[in-house]
C-alpha cells in the first residue's frame, strides 16, 4: 500500500508546470486556448447570482446596458494594457515576480491573503452550485440574510461538491483548459436558453416587439427589492470593471497570460467579458424576474431550463472554481516550497470546502468581489510602477532581489497604507479602488525616489 501511494504521489508530482521559472517559448499557447479559457472562466455559477442581484438592486434598463458595455470594455483594456504587457515580458507568475520586487516576506503575506481570498471566491461558487444540487435532496436555499450554515443537508451538499471540485483542480492547466473547452459553450447556451424560455412567462411576445417595455417594467424597473441598496449606471460600470480587478489591474492573470505569444492576447478577455459579464448577467436577470425576484439560483435554473439548467449551474460552478483553486495553489506554492502542487491544491480545496458551507459569501457576493479586488489592487499598482514608471525616472527596480531583502518595507507600507486610505474614503465601496490605484502607484514611486535622494 505505501508503495502504491508513493507511485500515485510521484505521478502527481510530475504535473509540475514551470510555475517557478519563466515560461519557455515551446510552452506558449495559441490565441484559441486563451479565448476558450477566458470564455470558460467568465461564464460561471456566480453569473447566475450577479445578474440576479442587479435586478434585486433595482437597476434601470438603460443604466444596465450602458454600464455593462462600458465597464466590460474598461476591463478588457485593463487586461490588454496593464496585465498582458508585463506578463509577456517577464513570463513569470505575479508571485515570483513580486518576490524580486517586494521580497519573500511581503510575497508571503500577499500569497496568504491572495490564497484566502481565492478560496472564499471558489467557496461562493460551490455554494451557488450547492443550491442546484440541494434541490434534488430537498435542501432549502438559505435566505438573503443567512450567514451561518442553515442545515445539515446544506453542509453535506457543499462538502460533496467541494471534494469533486478540488479533485479536478489538482489535474492542472492543460486539463482545465480542455474541460472548459467542453463545458463553456454549452453553459453559455444554458443562460440564453433559460432566459428565452422565461420571456413568454414575463409577457414578451414572439416578435420581441414589447421586449424593451417588459424589460423596463418587469425586470430592470428601477425598483430595488426590500433591504437592497438602489444601483444606477456608475455602480454597474464600476462593478463590471472591477469584477476581475485582482486578475487584470491586480496582475494575478500574469499566471495565465505569461503563456501568451503577444501582449495583444489580453484582448481575448473580451471572449469572457461580453458573453459572460454582459449577456449572462442579462439572462440571469431575466430568469430571476421569472421566479418573482427570489434569490434561489438552483430553483431559478430549474424553472428556466429544467434538469439541464441545474446541471449547467453545477458545471458553471465547477469550471470556475477549478482555475480559482489552481491559482490558490500557485499562491500557496511560495509559502510551502517543499510541497508538490497536488498537496497544496488539496489544502486550498479543503479550506474552500469549509468556506462553501457559509452562505454569507454568495449572498454578499457583490460586496465581497469589491473587497477582494480592492485588497489585492495596491500590489498590482506597485508592480506596475516598478515596471513602467521606475525606468522613466531612472530608479532602480527589483531591489529586494538585488539587496537580498526579506521585506521591502516601502512596498508593505504603501500596500497597507493604501488600503487604510481607501477604506477611510467617504465614497461607495465600488468606487474606492480607482483613487487607491493612483495612491499606491504614485506613493510607491515617490517613496522610492525619496530613498534615492
Amino acid at each position: 500500500m505505501p508503495g502504491r501511494l508513493a507511485r500515485i504521489t510521484s505521478a502527481m508530482d510530475r504535473l509540475y508546470e514551470f510555475d517557478r521559472e519563466a515560461v519557455t517559448p515551446d510552452k506558449l499557447q495559441s490565441g484559441a486556448k486563451f479565448a476558450g479559457l477566458f470564455a470558460g472562466e467568465h461564464v460561471a455559477a456566480t453569473e447566475f447570482v450577479i445578474g440576479a442581484f442587479f435586478v434585486l438592486h433595482g437597476v434601470p434598463w438603460r443604466d444596465l446596458l450602458l454600464g455593462l458595455l462600458l465597464g466590460n470594455l474598461l476591463a478588457v483594456l485593463s487586461w490588454t494594457f496593464i496585465c498582458a504587457p508585463i506578463a509577456v515580458r517577464t513570463r513569470l507568475t505575479l508571485y515570483w515576480h513580486l518576490r524580486k520586487i517586494a521580497g519573500p516576506g511581503v510575497t508571503l503575506i500577499y500569497n496568504i491573503a491572495n490564497a484566502f481570498l481565492y478560496c472564499i471566491l471558489a467557496g461562493a461558487m460551490i455554494s451557488v452550485s450547492a443550491t442546484a444540487v440541494g434541490l434534488a435532496f430537498g435542501v432549502k436555499t438559505p435566505g438573503l440574510d443567512a450567514v451561518w450554515p442553515t442545515s445539515v443537508g446544506w453542509v453535506l451538499v457543499a462538502f460533496g461538491l467541494g471534494a469533486a471540485f478540488t479533485a479536478m483542480a489538482i489535474l492542472g492547466f492543460e486539463r482545465l483548459s480542455k474541460f472548459a473547452q467542453v463545458c463553456s459553450p454549452w453553459i453559455f447556451i444554458v443562460f440564453i436558453a433559460g432566459a428565452l424560455a422565461t420571456l413568454p412567462d414575463l409577457g414578451v411576445q414572439g416578435d420581441f416587439g414589447n421586449f424593451v417595455a417588459v424589460a423596463k417594467t418587469r425586470i430592470w424597473n428601477g425598483v430595488a427589492a426590500e433591504g437592497q441598496e438602489p444601483f444606477g449606471f456608475w455602480h454597474i460600470l464600476f462593478f463590471a470593471w472591477f469584477c476581475n480587478l485582482a486578475m487584470h489591474v491586480g496582475l494575478s492573470d500574469m499566471a495565465i497570460l505569461r503563456y501568451a505569444k503577444k501582449w495583444t492576447y489580453g484582448l481575448y478577455s473580451a471572449f469572457g467579458m461580453y458573453p459572460g459579464h454582459m449577456l449572462a448577467w442579462i439572462c440571469s436577470g431575466i430568469m430571476v424576474a421569472g421566479i418573482g425576484r427570489s434569490m434561489e439560483p438552483g430553483r431559478m435554473a430549474f424553472e428556466a431550463a429544467g434538469l439541464a439548467g441545474v446541471i449547467g449551474l453545477v458545471l458553471a460552478g465547477w469550471t470556475t472554481a477549478n482555475p480559482t483553486l489552481y491559482r490558490a495553489g500557485l499562491a500557496l506554492q511560495t509559502v510551502t516550497p517543499g510541497w508538490p502542487r497536488w498537496k497544496i491544491t488539496l489544502a486550498a480545496g479543503a479550506a474552500t470546502t469549509v468556506l462553501a458551507c457559509f452562505p454569507l459569501f454568495f449572498l454578499k457576493l457583490l460586496d465581497y468581489v469589491a473587497i477582494y479586488g480592492l485588497v489585492l489592487m495596491p500590489i498590482g499598482a506597485i508592480v506596475f510602477a516598478e515596471f513602467w514608471i521606475f525606468p522613466l525616472l531612472g530608479l532602480e527596480s527589483q531591489l529586494a532581489e538585488k539587496k537580498g531583502w526579506t521585506f521591502n518595507w516601502r512596498a508593505l507600507f504603501i500596500w497597507l497604507g493604501t488600503l487604510a486610505v481607501c477604506f477611510a474614503l467617504p465614497i461607495h465601496l465600488y468606487f474606492k479602488w480607482l483613487p487607491g490605484w493612483f495612491i499606491a502607484a504614485f506613493g510607491y514611486t515617490a517613496a522610492s525616489a525619496l530613498r534615492r535622494k
Binding site: 454549452w186 447556451i189 440564453i192 436558453a193 431550463a305 434538469l307
Partner: protein, 56 residues
C-alpha cells in the same frame, strides 16, 4: 473521425439553442422544451468530449 464528432457537436449545440427558440415562439410545450434541451445537451457532451479527447 474527429471531423464527424465536430459536426455532431455543432449540430447538438444548434439543437440546444433551437429548443428555447421553439419554446419562445410557443411551438413546443414547457416539458417538450426541457426534454429536447436535455437530450441535445447530452449529445453535446458526448460529441464534444470525444472530439477534445481524440488523439491523432
Amino acid at each position: 473521425m474527429k471531423k464527424y464528432f465536430t459536426i455532431m457537436a455543432v449540430l447538438s449545440l444548434v439543437a440546444c439553442l433551437a429548443a428555447p427558440v421553439l419554446r419562445f415562439l410557443d411551438l413546443v410545450s414547457e416539458s417538450g422544451f426541457r426534454l429536447a434541451f436535455l437530450l441535445a445537451s447530452l449529445a453535446w457532451f458526448i460529441a464534444a468530449t470525444v472530439r477534445v479527447s481524440w488523439k491523432k
